[in-house]
Structures are given as C-alpha cells and as structure tokens.
C-alpha cells in the first residue's frame, strides 16, 4: 500500500491537534469537481471526530485539465503568508464554480487580507516551489487522482463519500 512520503511535518497546513489519533491527509486540486464535492464531507468528518482527528491539505494541481488549479493553489499559499490558508482554502472550495483570476483577488479582499502584500506574494517564485514540492511528494506517495486521501500515513483507496471515509477512519481507531 502506498505510503505518505514525506510524513506530515511542520511545513504542512494542519488543522487540529498534534496529539490527534487520526491524521487525515488530502492531496487536492482547487478546481477539481471531486475535491469540491469532498470539501463539505471533510468538514462533517472533522466535526464528527473533533479532537480525535487532524486534517492536512497538500496541493496536487492537475494543471493541464484545470487551468485555475495552480493559480488557486498559489493564492492559498499567499494567504498562508498572512496566516489565512484555511480561510482561503474554504472560500475557494465554497465558490469553486466562480473560480478565475479576478475571483482569487476578490476572495482575498473578502477575507480582509493585505491586498498589496497578497499580490506581491502571488508573484513570489517561492510559492510555486512550495506547490511543486507538494505535487512531487504526491507523486512519491502514489497519488492516483484527486482527491487522494491518506489515513495515518497510508493511502486510502475507498470511495470519497462520507460513509466510506467515516468507516475507514473508525477502523484506524481500533487498537492494533
């Protein structure tokens, strides 16, 4: 079974406690309709498991299929520089059908980000490198489509619906 490479570390975008028993990682693409559908499901799963679960998002933009995937990923990293990664992540998925270059700026405004800084960061090649490094880690981790999920470091191959994910997470909570 493909293994998450590298494991979750301090450079990751993490929601939840470091002591959580379950770590759920998503490799996602902001313009991918399946990722858009998974978004509210993950929100539910997070609410249901509470402190037991932490959630990590890594970028896996399919740039040939989804022209806005990379700009959106970079916008989320620019928001991360203002400590607002998750707000931008949520906003992009919630307004996925409206995604275009202008929308990314208006999302930033809506979030009350420092726009001058945000626009400067969008041009920063270091942000491309971050997205790139996520993608490369996905290739090594055996990502085979978006979204791809990892539960406690191992690839999850079940369906992306709520019940399948929920049950797979529960199984991982049983003592080994």
């Amino acid at each position: 079974m493909p293994k998450l490479t590298p494991p979750v570390n301090k450079d990751d975008h993490i929601q939840g406690s470091p002591n959580a028993r379950i770590t759920l990682v998503e490799y996602g693409d902001f313009q991918c309709p399946n990722c858009g559908m998974a978004y509210p499901i993950i929100k539910n799963i997070q609410a249901e498991f509470g402190k037991i679960l932490r959630f990590v998002f890594r970028h896996f933009p399919l740039t040939n299929a989804h022209p806005m995937a990379l700009p959106a990923a970079i916008a989320s990293e620019a928001a991360a520089r203002q400590r607002r990664f998750w707000d931008m992540h949520d906003m992009i998925f919630e307004q996925q059908p409206a995604l275009n270059s202008y929308a990314l700026i208006s999302f930033a405004m809506e979030l009350g980000l420092n726009i001058t800084q945000f626009k400067m960061d969008l041009q920063d090649k270091l942000l491309d490198e971050i997205v790139e490094s996520h993608f490369e880690s996905g290739v090594r981790s055996g990502v085979n489509g978006t979204p791809s999920f990892y539960i406690n470091g191992y690839k999850y191959n079940g369906g992306n619906d709520h019940d399948s994910l929920y049950m797979a997470i529960e199984e991982n909570m049983q003592p080994a």
Binding site: N64, A65, V139, R140, N144, G145
Partner: protein, 167 residues
C-alpha cells in the same frame, strides 16, 4: 506477463494517424510502457491525464513515457487533444492487442489491455513491471522508484568502471 530481467520485445505502432513509432528508436533511454484498458476515463482519476502532469519527473530520469491501448489512432488523437496530453499514445489496434500479447497483458475476454506498467532500461531490459487491478489507477510511485533504482545502478557501474581502470 513479462517481468524483471526479461528483454522488452520490440514493436512498431501508430503514434499519430500518419506516423509510426518503434521501440528501438529510443534505445539508450529509459522507457515507461503504460498499458491501459481504454481512452476517456473521467479526468480527475484518469491515469494518462495524471502521468501527463508528471512528465518532468520522468524526464529527470531520462525516461520516455508511452501509453498503449487498443483504441485506434483517431480515437487517441481526439483523446490527446481533449486532455492536452504531451506524450505519445500508441494504437495496439491492428492486429488487436498484438503488442499487449507479447508483453503478456492482453485480456482476451474483454478485448483490451490490462492496466500494466513496465519500466525498461536503456539496454532494452525490463527492470520493473506491475499489474494493477483494472479499476485501480496505480499512480506513479512504483515507476519513480524503479527509475531511481536504474539511476543508482548506472552510477555504481560507472564507479566500478572508473575504479577498474584506476583513473
């Protein structure tokens, strides 16, 4: 199915409606042969669309990616344009599945290729192969690992040669 240390059978297939491609043409390069059942899987989980995004990692290892299915050259052309693919898809169309049969990955019952991967080194020797369940896209972690192993082996051979000649 052919496996590690088998030599890779040569073949010639259409890569475009008016162009044929033969395996021996790229001898010296590493080759990734990706047999797959059919064009037109949904995009977010489509194996060929996925590999399309990973071409630069394959290039880093001096590797050429070739997709093979029994779809016709015209079908491949439409699919490549639709998905914006930047590598060759070969049509194992006539006689149907002939190349897949040589590699032992033709599904007679379904009349299509299995989902199978081969990594072939510059000398035309298979260094890794993998048969995936048809419904599961295997990703590229196995391919990258195989290419890394080839690169390490080549390095070791080079060191041994240098040491042998005492340079």
């Amino acid at each position: 199915m052919l496996t590690r240390n088998d030599s890779a059978p040569d073949f010639e297939l259409h890569a475009t409606p008016d162009q044929k491609f033969a395996l021996h043409e790229i001898k010296g390069k590493n080759v990734i042969l990706a047999f797959y059942p059919a064009d037109w899987s949904p995009v977010c989980g489509d194996q060929m669309s996925l590999y399309n995004e990973m071409l630069k990692y394959f290039k880093k290892y001096n590797a050429e990616l070739l997709g093979i299915s029994v779809d016709s050259k015209w079908c491949h052309m439409a699919y490549m344009q639709n998905r914006n693919l930047h590598f060759s898809l070969l049509a194992d169309f006539h006689p149907r599945g002939e190349v897949a049969k040589k590699y032992g990955v033709y599904n007679e019952k379904e009349g299509q290729c299995e989902r199978a991967l081969f990594v072939i080194d510059g000398n035309g020797i298979i260094q890794w192969s993998y048969l995936s369940p048809v419904a599961i896209n295997p990703g590229a972690d196995g391919i990258i690992e195989a290419l890394e192993n080839i690169a390490n082996k080549n390095k070791k051979t080079e060191y041994a040669e240098v040491n042998a000649t005492g340079q």
